[in-house]
């Protein structure tokens, strides 16, 4: 009996899939509760997300943000840390991107502004994660609480900066001036049009490519560097890591810097790619959604891309759904997101034992 092992595909594939099915089943119950047909609703959702060129573009545009925050949450998870501050880091990262664009948009070409803005977003995001990381590593304050507090501090700081310093003169709402076009990240539909590919008029831009590159970076870093080995060791068994001579505190700080930098890149997509000006509340919950993406993607870049696409589809399809059925709000997508976190995160052990036992029995027989 002790020789029997649960097949890998059960742990990697079947159990996560089972949990997601439960989450979708619970979501279907919510639709039934408000008197809507869940299958019909799913039809509208899918059509809105994938049914036409522009819809696909929007889905991928939402997925871009979710890949960034999903990777951010996930890399911290790998080291056993819960970075719940993706929201604040993305917010401050956006500030970094915005400042670069505002400073250089009339003096530098896009080819120079783009890398500067990416560095700016990553640096600002990382800096915002640095303080909670330092406090966790050196002073023992709990990173979850500190990062939550830092979300609120980020939000107040942004309001202060926007209202008092960055707001465009003569406007009531706190929005900065629009960047010169040299600081606009090109839309993919503009880039692909000369090749004869029609993508509709979606906000999907080059940041999507950046997000995919980040996935490769994540994969290489976590599984193919000495440093990634350290980070996984700390995450799996901090005591063993310490005995092996790994400086846990240092790893904690580094991993949070990377996590914050990844979250900060949301600003590249939102500020430089879409809004072309600095404004309030552009993070719109992507930092928290990243938790669902990381959980559902099982902390693997491929999983995260798939999960981000699914949630991107829900965001975009949710809009379509609300348009087709006016008694439904796009917020129903937030419910589905929460149910995914519940079933594939908090309740992941609910059926795990039973499913594993089933396969163990079969293997033993």
């Amino acid at each position: 009996m002790s020789q029997a092992k649960v097949p890998v595909w059960v742990n990697v594939g079947l159990i996560p899939l089972f949990n997601i099915m439960l989450a979708l089943l619970a979501s279907a119950l919510v639709f039934l509760a408000i008197g809507e047909n869940p299958i019909e609703a799913a039809g509208y959702l899918l059509y809105g997300a994938f049914g036409y060129d522009e819809g696909i573009g929007y889905t991928l545009y939402y997925a871009t943000n979710l890949i960034f925050t999903g990777l951010a949450v996930s890399v911290a998870f790998k080291a056993g840390l819960f970075n719940i501050g993706g929201e604040g880091q993305a917010y401050i990262g956006g500030l970094g991107v915005g400042l670069v664009c505002l400073w250089f948009d009339s003096s530098l070409p896009l080819l120079l502004i783009a890398p500067l803005a990416i560095i700016g977003g990553a640096l600002f995001g990382a800096a915002w994660a640095y303080i909670p990381a330092y406090l966790q590593a050196r002073r023992g304050s709990h990173i979850v609480i500190t990062t939550i507090m830092f979300n609120f501090i980020a939000s107040s700081l942004m309001v202060y900066l926007m209202v008092n310093w960055l707001k465009q003169e003569g406007l009531m709402s706190p929005i900065s001036r629009t960047f010169e076009e040299s600081a606009w990240l090109p839309y993919l539909h503009d880039l692909l049009a000369p090749l004869g590919i029609d993508m509709g008029d979606s906000p999907l831009n080059l940041a999507f490519i950046l997000a995919l590159l980040c996935c490769v970076f994540y994969w290489a870093l976590v599984w193919h560097t000495r440093w990634g080995y350290q980070l996984r060791t700390v995450g799996t068994n901090p005591t063993a890591a310490q005995y092996a001579g790994i400086d846990n505190a240092k790893v904690t700080i580094w991993v949070m810097l990377i996590s914050g930098a990844l979250a900060g890149l949301v600003g590249v997509n939102e500020i430089m790619g879409v809004n072309h000006s600095l404004l309030l509340n552009f993070t719109a919950g992507y930092g928290f959604a990243g938790i669902a993406v990381a959980l559902m993607g099982r902390n693997h870049p491929v999983g995260i891309i798939l999960a981000a696409m699914l949630f991107g589809a829900l965001y975009q399809g949710g809009g379509e759904l609300a348009f087709e059925i006016p008694t439904i709000t796009p917020e129903i997508v937030v419910v589905i997101q929460g149910l995914v976190i519940l079933f594939s995160g908090a309740l992941e052990n609910m059926f795990k034992g039973k499913i594993e036992a089933f396969f163990l029995r079969r293997a033993a027989a």
């Binding site: 819960f82 719940i84 500190t146 939550i148 938790i291 709000t329 976190i341 519940l342 995160g345």
Partner: protein, 322 residues
């Protein structure tokens, strides 16, 4: 000047009330070892249930019952995930907050067709101010009269309930058998188990109490402080209550003081909007708003005192088997 101060303190009491209730709720949960990030969600869920039921039945009290029922259900989901299935406490809390944020608006739109709000509540559907005896008669008495009639009198019943909850919580947690077990389960569940007491059952009772108090806090938001439910009306108060709980080092009276301090800062921030002070000039409102969070971070980092939580907090209890 004195009158302004009284008005600020009066506002402090009103703003602190939901914080006090939610922070005490968190105290029960966290003292038993269950981390509760989900205070925010339970608050919001309670607020929605209270406003919805009050709108339908026309009674604030029925609203309160529904708020408690909704909040306790959420607390039980949290308990089911964390106690029974040994799930991650923080993931579960985030899940609850997310679900509630979406579900309140979804159900609100379906039930009331007002863009996710509930209808405005009037009359018996709200908790109205209570005038304490002789408040009007003594209002003219200098200093004390104003304190009595403005500051102490004229709040709704839930404000008084919140303040009464503080000594009650103290008594339950530190002077009863249940309280001893509650604290023990949060510090050393193995010892409690060895004594023949069910760790899970103590923790379940703790999260239920947490749910009850959060429900009252939610009802306060939508049927006493405001007249109806608005999308995301808890606006981070659950997280601020969590900060107050840590700032008060998981003890009822310091938690009360932390809530009053945070409430006071909030009340002052509203007053100081656009006001120029002598010497310092105009203080940005955001700087005051952000103080509770900054103070909590500093405290957690050990720069001002030290906050040490219950020892077994956040750790699932696995009963050893032979």
């Amino acid at each position: 000047m004195f009158e302004t101060l009284i008005l600020i303190l009066d506002a402090t009491l009103r703003v602190s009330t939901p914080l006090i209730l939610a922070a005490l709720a968190g105290l029960f949960s966290e003292r038993s070892g269950i981390v509760d990030i989900g205070l925010e969600g339970k608050l919001l869920g309670g607020a929605f249930a209270a406003a919805a039921a009050a709108a339908v039945f026309g009674s604030a009290w029925i609203g309160l019952l529904f708020a408690i029922a909704a909040s306790v259900s959420l607390a039980l989901i949290h308990g089911f995930a964390c106690i029974t299935h040994r799930g991650d406490h923080i993931v579960s809390g985030v899940a609850i907050n997310t679900i509630v944020a979406g579900l309140t608006v979804t159900l609100g739109l379906d039930w009331f067709s007002q863009g996710g709000q509930t209808p405005a509540l009037t009359g018996a559907a709200r908790f109205t101010p209570i005038t304490l005896p002789f408040a009007d008669q003594v209002a003219e008495v200098p200093v004390l009269g104003l304190i009595y009639s403005e500051l102490l009198s004229g709040h709704n019943i839930l404000v008084y309930v919140a303040f009464l909850m503080v000594p009650l919580t103290y008594w339950v947690v530190f002077k009863t058998r249940f309280g001893l077990r509650l604290r023990a389960v949060g510090e050393n569940p193995h010892a409690v188990d060895t004594a023949g007491i069910s760790v899970a059952w103590v923790r379940y009772r703790a999260v239920i109490l947490c749910g009850v108090l959060c429900g009252i806090a939610g009802a306060y938001l939508s049927t006493a402080h405001n007249a109806g439910f608005l999308k995301d009306m808890s606006a981070g108060k659950g997280y601020m209550a969590l900060a107050a709980l840590i700032f008060g080092k998981w003890r009822p009276v310091p938690v009360l003081l932390a809530c009053l301090l945070f409430g006071f800062l909030d009340a002052v921030a509203v007053r100081l909007q656009g006001v120029s002070l002598p010497v310092i000039g105009e203080v940005p409102v955001q700087a005051i708003e952000v103080l509770p969070y900054v103070l909590t971070v500093l405290l957690l980092a050990g720069f001002i005192g030290k906050a040490v939580g219950p020892k077994a907090i956040g750790k699932p209890y696995v009963k050893e088997r032979a």
